[in-house]
């Protein structure tokens, strides 16, 4: 698993779920129901202000775990697939206040997951 903090562009559905990801100029589409949760931030170390009325997103940020396939590639396991067409599992984070997305983790599908 690799740890990143790289800016990505994400297109969401009307319900707010990620549908497509653009990462380093390459496009991916989300191919399975994503999972969403929140994780704490070390806001006392990362932020310089936390006045009353800061709104949501000081204490936690949103994480989406998505399975994506490179755009333009067919379903996995179909005929004529290149070896690299396995879906990738990515953890994306959305900063609640700015709405900006970053890529947090890549779960390497080729290696067995440890947990």
């Amino acid at each position: 698993m690799g740890m990143f903090s790289e800016s990505v562009d994400v297109v969401c559905s009307a319900a707010g779920q990620p549908e497509a990801v653009t990462w380093a100029g390459r496009s991916f589409t989300v191919c399975a129901e994503p999972v969403r949760w929140y994780e704490r931030r070390q806001w006392w170390a990362e932020d310089s202000r936390a006045p009353l009325g800061s709104g949501p997103g000081v204490v936690d940020h949103e994480i989406w775990r998505v399975q994506v396939l490179a755009a333009g590639v067919g379903r996995p396991g179909g005929s004529g697939e290149p070896a690299g067409a396995e879906p990738l599992t990515l953890d994306l984070t959305r900063h609640i206040r700015s709405g900006r997305w970053r890529l947090l983790r890549i779960h390497d599908a080729l290696r067995p997951k440890s947990a």
Binding site: V35, R36, W37, Y38, E39, R40, Q42, W43, W44, A45, D47, S48, R49, A50, P51, L52, G53, S54, G55, P56, G57, V58, V59, D60, I63
Partner: protein
């Protein structure tokens, strides 16, 4: 769509909840909710505020508690298995609420009432189970919510499936059927962690499997997401760990999702959980429906379930009456007439009876007869204990209170208005405050518990909220900042609210340095200070803990503990979880029993008078009291010499003469420099003058210049002016100036015909802007109708508007004036006993040494410490021999000697008298340093004289010092327990080797200041006298004979330092000094402050130059122009010849550091 939140902590969950009940109720109502729960942690601290907030928001309240449950398998006393939410069911005539109260009290029954006790507030599962069913009907009245914080929820971690199931089944086995539901919560934390959807799913399946209803909550801690960082800081304050530490453990809230989510968001959460569980739409519908079904079951009717606004007083039988309470009250009032108004008849009698009729009518109409009887019973009980008690406050306005001996002020004599206290328009239980001797307050509490039974009595609590200092400390702790650094910042903060921290940084000069450091953050990347400011503001006003209210006692009937949960107070007596704001809503009768030191001092004086003068004849002679009706003395002195202070007539001329002399140090309310100046100007002649004096000496009237016109009219310097002749009767007593609330009421009544009850409502309304506009409209319209011209109306309205906010209730003033008069009366007639009482109980604003100096000024001998004559308290003593033989002096007490422990003191007194040092050592087991200190203070001088021998006090101290350093090598003669020491006199004392020069007076005084903070042998200024004479200093007793505007030098030791806030912002500093002949009160205006500089606050001995300001026939003060430090001779601006006089010897204060105790100020 609507959703009911059933698990909500308010800010009254100390160090846990973030939002106020009002915010939560308003937010819930705005989201379309029809009900909202309040489930504070460990108690019902916010419950009544929640009720109020829900009623205001138009939704139904639901009440419950978030409670820890002991581990059945663990150590039963301390180990907690988890937390559950318990909700009371409603609409069952309070059965649910009753059970909830009792359950919460159960949870606290084993705690110590002290911070950091070993036993947490928690219930056993058996207690919880037994409370869930109503004892009468055996129907379920409580519902227990098992959620993520329960032992079941906490066991969900990892891949364990058996453990949560076992725990869940244990609950189902232990609890009566139908009392348990599963509380499904997801705060959307990472899959598999606590408060995650995955855990919610597992609990949901468990509930499904066991056919237990599941409901959805959000375990709310804050109204909006913005509260999440505040919750983090509160977690830090609760656990006393910094945020980085907590994050490591990890003990912080899992996410920031615990806010009062909207119905849509909650439905979304439900959907997410249901779909993650693999269930369908019908299951989602059921989860939501079950939540609302439980909410409906728990809707509380404030009136029928919780007794909202229904006053409850002790049962008639408990206060010892068998008939209708109102009939009893009427009887007692009539019985009081003969006592309070002996021989009243004719018109006065008719007026009195009419007033009584009027009051009783209102009391009956409001149904408060039992209330008055209860207060009378408590008052009687306190007096039967022999404790002085007096009603204060507006209760003194009532003739009923006067007749049943609750108050000692005759409302007819002082023209007090009952409606200021109680009226048909004001149906809340009135406040009656009872002042008792401070030293007896806790005994009075205990006695009230015994008298009424612990089921009917509990102490009231108070909420302590964050203020700036505490907030910055806890914010600093959360950020993991250095203690010392935060402490330094905290020291600078006072007199502003934490909410205004950032604003204060801009404005307050003392914060300038800190503000600079905050701005520096960009430069050095230190963002902590900026965050510190934000977090401090977040904590502002949030409740930190409850504590015993300083005076409130709640009295009820046998059902009291069904209506309020209680927990142990620091005093050991039970304390309600409700505070003063909850009393009226809950119909609770609260008595304020205040401890007043002056009452203790006066009671002490009365006891001393009897001790010294055991017959009426002696007391009359000693106090120069009038011969009375039969020539043996006045009726207020009993045969055994006991003085009934409350019966002393309020017209004693000698007492007013003392007051006019302004030598009122030690007298209640009139001893401060400002008050001495005011009474000097006013020259009170009668009791009403004292009432006016006390009412005038308040920040409002002083600041708004009401005092000057009053005095000018009083002394006839300027003609009195009345806005209209109709108002003359109302304003005459204060010469046309409106001082009292009562005058405002009468003015409104006369000019509008509104009646006094309505007038008091108007007076209250004047305190806010909206109310003021309404009153103005009413007043102008009706005064016009009654024919008052526009000019009169304008003028009177101006007065009403400006004075209503800080006018004083005359009844308050009258109640205060009674102890003022009584203390002055005692000082006039029995000064020795009175001063002994003052020294013993220290009631006033000055250092004790000034009151000792006052005895010296009055010529009362101050008798030195003596190991055989001094007791644990100050005592009046008749002097047996010497120049003062036959006179009364005051013997110093052994109490308050530096280093002498309470146990040593007790043993000394128990063993008195002693015939030798060896005897003292053996029986009192005093430590060596204590013996040496007693010797330094001369406590062995008489023993030493009796023993004979050539040595002096210095030799004795030297001898004891040697014994002390020899460290036990030469112990005194050991005497076996029970063996009588032979009366040989003191061989040790007789054989001490002489050689040292006897200590000088200065050395003795220095020892006294060092060990007792009091100069006893002589006034500490005495040794400066030669210098002062050379300088041409004027003494306090000579000032009065000088012309106004004379330039003088004065010198003395500081006794009072005040910097009252002033209109116009320029600070004025008042410094009073004592030179042994009396007090000199000086005022430093801006320029004098500039020239005196740091000496203003940093000096104990002051030389002041200034000009005299005559303030009245007997009053004079000083307008200072310059000050010097008398102890630094080289700084004095005088010729060298004078300076050499200054260096002529040691002075008592040299090397003594007890500045606060000696000067009353620590600048």
């Amino acid at each position: 769509m609507s959703f009911t939140h059933l698990h909500v902590s308010t800010a009254f969950s100390a160090h846990y909840g973030v939002s106020w009940p009002e915010e939560l109720a308003m937010a819930a109502a705005a989201d379309g909710a029809t009900a909202l729960a309040c489930t504070d942690r460990d108690g019902l601290y916010g419950t009544i505020k929640h009720l109020k907030a829900c009623m205001a928001a138009g939704i139904d309240p639901i009440v419950g508690v978030d409670l820890a449950v002991f581990d059945d398998d663990g150590d039963h006393r301390t180990q907690v298995a988890g937390r559950v939410v318990v909700l009371a069911r409603g609409h069952n005539n309070g059965a649910g609420y009753r059970a909830l109260c009792r359950l919460v009290s159960d949870a606290h029954a084993r705690t110590s009432g002290k911070a950091g006790g070993a036993v947490p507030a928690a219930v056993t599962r058996a207690e919880l189970a037994s409370r869930t069913l109503d004892p009468q009907t055996l129907k379920p009245v409580l519902t227990v919510l098992l959620g993520p914080d329960s032992d079941v929820g906490r066991a969900m971690g990892g891949r364990r499936y058996l453990r949560p199931r076992t725990l869940f089944k244990q609950w189902l086995d232990a609890m009566p059927a139908g009392t348990v539901v599963a509380e499904i919560v997801s705060q959307l934390s990472a899959p598999g962690t606590p408060f995650s959807t995955a855990h919610a799913v597992r609990l949901l399946r468990l509930a499904e499997e066991h056919h237990v209803p599941a409901i959805l909550t959000n375990a709310v801690r804050y109204c909006a997401a913005d509260g999440a960082p505040t919750a983090d800081v509160l977690d830090s304050a609760r656990t006393l760990k910094s945020l980085p530490e907590l994050a490591g453990e990890p003990l912080l809230q899992p996410t920031g999702q615990g806010w009062l989510k909207t119905p849509e968001q909650m439905l979304g959460l439900g959907r997410e959980i249901i779909s993650a569980a693999g269930y369908g739409a019908a299951d989602l519908k059921q989860l939501m429906a079950q939540t609302e079904a439980l909410a409906d079951l728990c809707r509380i009717d404030p009136t029928t379930d919780m007794g909202w606004k229904q006053p409850v007083v002790p049962e008639a039988s408990v206060i010892g009456i068998s008939q209708d309470p109102h009939a009893e009250l009427i009887q007692r009032c009539h019985a009081g007439i003969g006592r309070r108004f002996p021989g009243i008849s004719g018109k006065a009698g008719q007026e009195m009876l009419a007033r009584l009729e009027h009051e009783l009518g209102i009391i009956q109409n409001l149904g408060f007869s039992s209330y008055f009887l209860t207060v009378a019973e408590v008052s009687r009980m306190i007096q039967d204990m022999g404790v002085r008690a007096a009603a204060r406050g507006s209760g003194a306005s009532s003739l009923v209170n006067y007749l049943i001996d609750v108050s000692h002020v005759n409302p007819l004599q002082h023209d007090l208005i009952f409606e200021r206290f109680l009226s048909n328009d004001r149906a809340t239980l009135p406040d009656i405050d009872i002042d008792v001797e401070s030293a007896e307050r806790h005994n009075v509490y205990r006695r009230i518990f015994e008298r009424f039974g612990s089921e009917r009595v509990t102490l009231m609590s108070m909420q302590n909220g964050y203020r700036a200092r505490g907030a910055v400390r806890d914010a600093g702790l959360a950020l993991g900042m250095d203690d010392g650094e935060v402490g330094e910042i905290a020291k600078q903060l006072w007199r502003f609210s934490a909410r205004k921290f950032r604003e204060a940084l801009q404005e307050k000069p003392e914060l300038r340095e800190f503000a600079g450091r905050v701005e520096q953050r960009d430069a050095d990347g230190n963002q902590q200070l900026d965050l510190l400011v934000d977090l401090t503001e977040r904590l502002d006003r949030l409740p930190r803990h409850i504590s015993m209210h300083p005076c409130g006692v709640i009295l009820g009937d046998a059902s009291l503990l069904d209506r309020t949960p209680v927990q142990p107070s620091g005093l050991g007596l039970p304390m309600s979880q409700f505070d003063k704001h909850d009393m009226d809503p809950m119909g609770m009768l609260k008595l304020d029993v205040l401890g007043v030191r002056m009452q203790s001092a006066m009671a002490f004086a009365v006891r001393e008078i009897i001790r010294i003068h055991p017959t009426k004849k002696d007391v009359v002679a000693a106090g120069k009291h009038p011969p009375g009706p039969d020539g043996t003395g006045p009726d207020y002195i009993a045969g055994d010499g006991r003085i009934d202070l409350n019966a002393v007539p309020l017209d004693d001329e000698a007492t007013y003469e003392l007051i006019r002399s302004t030598h009122t140090l030690g007298c209640f309310q009139i001893e401060s420099p400002g008050q001495r100046e005011l009474i000097g100007k006013m020259a009170p002649r009668e009791f009403n003058d004292l009432i006016i004096d006390i009412s005038l000496f308040r920040p409002g009237p002083m600041k708004s210049d009401m005092v000057r016109p009053f005095l000018e009219h009083r002394h006839g310097f300027a003609p009195e002016v009345y806005p209209h002749p109709d108002l003359k009767p109302v304003l005459q007593e204060t010469h046309g100036v409106t001082v009292f609330h009562e005058q405002i009421l009468k003015t409104l009544d006369i000019m509008t015909g509104c009646g006094l009850a309505k007038a008091d409502e108007f007076r209250r309304a004047l305190s806010n802007e909206a109310g003021e506009a309404q009153v103005e409209e009413y007043f102008r319209r009706n005064a016009k109708t009654k024919g008052y011209g526009p000019e009169v109306v304008d003028k009177v309205w101006g007065t009403l508007k400006s004075f209503a906010s800080f006018g004083f209730c005359k009844a308050h003033g009258a109640a205060f004036a009674v102890p003022t008069y009584q203390s002055a009366w005692l000082k006039t007639h029995h000064p020795e006993a009175f001063l002994a009482g003052l020294w013993e109980h220290d009631p006033g604003m000055y250092p004790k040494r000034l009151l000792v100096a006052e005895a010296r000024r009055l010529g009362i001998p101050i008798l030195p410490l003596d190991i055989n004559r001094s007791k644990a308290e100050y005592q009046v003593e008749r002097i047996g021999s010497g120049n003062d033989a036959g006179r009364l002096g005051i013997r110093l007490s052994l109490n308050g000697i530096y280093g002498l422990s309470a146990a040593e003191l007790k043993r000394i007194v128990a063993g008195q008298p002693y015939d030798s040092l060896a005897d003292l050592r053996t029986r009192s087991r005093l430590s060596k340093p204590s013996i040496r200190r007693l010797a330094q203070l001369g406590a062995f001088d008489s023993l030493h004289r009796e023993a004979g021998g050539p040595a002096n006090r210095a030799d004795l101290v030297h001898h004891l010092q040697q014994l002390q350093t020899a460290n036990g090598a030469r112990k005194g003669v050991e005497v076996l327990e029970g063996q009588l020491s032979l009366p040989l006199g003191d061989i040790e004392l007789r054989n001490i080797k002489p050689g040292l020069p006897a200590p000088t007076l200065v050395e003795n005084v220095r020892a006294e200041l060092d060990l007792m903070a009091v100069d006893v042998s002589t006034h500490l200024m005495e040794s400066h006298r030669p210098l002062l004479e050379k300088l041409g200093v004027t003494t306090a007793d000579k000032l009065l004979s000088l012309r106004n505007g004379t330039e003088v030098l004065v010198a003395g030791v500081r006794v009072a330092t005040q910097t009252p806030p002033m209109r116009g912002g320029r600070r004025v500093v008042f410094i009073s000094i004592d030179d042994g002949t009396g007090c000199v009160d000086s005022v430093f205006f801006h320029e004098a402050q500039e020239s005196a500089g740091p000496l203003l606050f940093g000096t104990r001995l002051l030389l002041i130059r200034g000009t005299t300001r005559r303030t009245g026939p007997r009053g004079i003060s000083l307008s200072a122009s310059m000050a010097w430090d008398l102890s630094r001779a080289e700084s004095l601006p005088f010729p060298a010849s004078v300076q050499s006089a200054a260096e002529d010897g040691p002075h008592p204060l040299d090397g003594i550091s007890r500045t606060l105790a000696i000067t009353g100020f620590n600048g």
